[in-house]
Amino acid sequence: MTKNELAGLAGTKAEAERRAADLAPAFAQAAWREGLIDVALADLESPIGRLTVAVTPRGLARIVFESEDRDAELERLSRLISPRVLAAARAADDVRRELDEYFDGARRRFDLKLDRRLMSPFARDVLAATARVGYGHLATYGEIASRIGRPKAARAVGAALGSNPIPIVVPCHRVIGAGGRLTGYAGGLPRKEALLRLEGSLVE
């Protein structure tokens, strides 16, 4: 008997990696059921590219665009919420369903529970005001600033919107510059345009 024969019983490393990857969904399901995942990740396909959503037991905490650095975002979630971050597709079933309906034009407001832990106190105020801008409507940074009682804080409002951890669902894309310029968006201006076109707010 040789050591190679013994090692051969385990199969090749590539086989083990494949088998382990196949087992991952069942493991994630068991872990989620036992309440051991603090941040569940799921990758969803959408008309504006892949969206990585992060769901906690409190609700939806983060939506990451394909153009953003997914690894850096995982690190951030790990640091700011909990290192128990794991891909668990089923945990995001509600989010997937509502986003699909939204992109199909069949949903105008989201009923999802939100986890606002990634928002600063100021950003919470700004984003709460933003959440009241309805589907098909627009507001300017200055208007949002007035609505939170800080009429001179348009720039700070812009920064808070730029840091929105839950774009699309918290509709920061509906906030534009005075004079109608779209200005910035975390996912890039083409995505902001696509969302506004979907909502009928942008007519060519």
Binding site: M1, A20, R79, P83, L86
Partner: protein, 159 residues
Amino acid sequence: MRGTAPPPFERFFEANRGTVLRFLTVAVGPQEADDVAQETFLAALRAYPKVRDDGRLDRWILTIASRKAIDHHRGTKRRAAPVAAVPEGRDQAVAPPDEPDAELWMAVRALPPAQRVAVVLRHVLDRPYDEIARVTDSTVEAARANVYQGMKKLKERIR
């Protein structure tokens, strides 16, 4: 506490699951390996918020996997105890007698759990003795002795 906060579990899981599965495939048997691997990573997930990253989390997960492998064998033995004949366990069913590795599997299964675990760490995963000692919570001498005795038995049965 030394070390830093651990990486996102997702990254740790992806980096170590293949190795854990290879270890358990031989340490508890191919059919049982999947379940024991799941138990291993669930235990790791439970402890994860308190773990510190010393740069060797691979050693930490193998420590858990080794304990789970030994526990698994104890459990199997207890369950099997009242039965006179050896039941047709799932582990036994893995390698039919006509398979080329059947004899080797029988010999591996006959090893005492501590020796089986030590042999797998040494000769399947290529881990050094000081690491085997840490992972199995024993001394370097005991680790060496377990590997030596285990290999001796395997060589006696397989020529």
